[in-house]
Symmetry: C2
Subunit: 208 residues, 2 copies
């Protein structure tokens, strides 16, 4: 515990110390040099930076500072709830309940006004109704595609993911940016052409 006479600042520092744990929550994605798996803090840094760099591709005008603020804290619930692999359907079943409890505990460390504001910002991200939330999701889904392409199929290969599964991520990218979704689509096609990604499984053809 860090001493502090000012209880508001003490609560803020306690939160800042607690979220250091995000640096130890591993994702499936490999770093682009393939040396190890990426963690949530690194992922959050990367996509918040992408928000500023790629703002021009958002379909609706966005407050990009707000997009970055949202992306920096969107994964904090995973400190308690863990990372659920995007193609793990079983793990997604109780994901919501686990993440709600995590949000209560973690954002609850902050002073009341900030606890409310940050919980609401996280809910806004999850609900995907605002231009900022939709663009944030575009970036959150585009970044691992770049990693999988650059590592010549890293997570796709090790998890036997096929192109039809990866294509299911496209609507989420499209929700915030048609141009980034078009780019992602071409990247998937190129990944299949290069053998980084297996084509759609036969029994998947014909389905939605």
């Amino acid at each position: 515990m860090i001493p502090c006479a000012d209880s508001r600042l003490a609560a803020q520092i306690a939160f800042i110390v607690e979220i250091d744990k995000l640096k130890t929550i591993l994702r499936q994605t490999l770093l682009i040099d393939s040396s190890r798996r990426e963690n949530d803090a690194e992922h959050s840094w990367h996509i918040a930076t992408m928000a500023f760099l790629l703002e021009e591709y958002a379909d609706d005008p966005v407050d990009v500072g707000r997009v970055a603020r949202m992306l920096l804290i969107h994964d904090i619930v995973e400190i308690d709830a863990g990372d659920t692999f995007i193609h793990d359907e079983a793990g997604h079943e109780d994901k919501d309940a686990r993440e709600q409890a995590a949000a209560r505990r973690l954002y609850g460390l902050l002073p009341k006004d900030q606890a409310a504001a940050y919980s609401a910002l996280w809910r806004e991200f999850e609900d995907r109704q605002t231009p900022e939330a939709r663009f944030a999701h575009s970036l959150d889904r585009l970044q691992p595609l770049l990693h999988n392409f650059e590592t010549e199929g890293g997570t796709w290969k090790s998890n036997a993911v096929t192109a039809d599964k990866v294509e299911k991520l496209l609507p989420r990218i499209e929700g915030g940016s048609g141009r980034l979704a078009a780019y992602a689509r071409s990247l998937i096609a190129e990944a299949v052409a290069r053998g980084y990604l297996a084509p759609a499984a036969r029994n998947a053809s014909g389905s939605g």
Copy 2:
């Protein structure tokens, strides 16, 4: 190389891929759980998040989105120039030249308008003349203090750093936030009281 018909987007994606290397640039600071050293991407995520959380402590009003944007990219030059330990005086001699060259190469990957804007933003950080740059420096210096306190003196002990050296960081924190500097000062005193940090060396007393 990631294929892209649009050369502007191709340049932006090339930069986004290149800066993934920031995740492999290690700092001296330990994670708060002491499990390993922190990297620059994690550090940048942490302090950009702190910018939003601690905005109220900035002495001058700041555009906090701009502070975050600055902090997210402020260490990118270290991909080429490496991290220079804050108490390493020899390493600081050619730091400027190495970082200038790094900025030219790295920001130069971006489309011309963004290359200029991001180089300027990095220079603004380095020059510490604007309220945003001064507050960014406050956070950049406060965060490792929190880590060193929470790890019961981690980097201070392993590098035989004494309190007078750590106190030299206070003006940088004070430049952007008197209240965060006062907090940092009390943290240093408490660290000495608890034996996390050695008091000033005798031959240092009496000097500025």
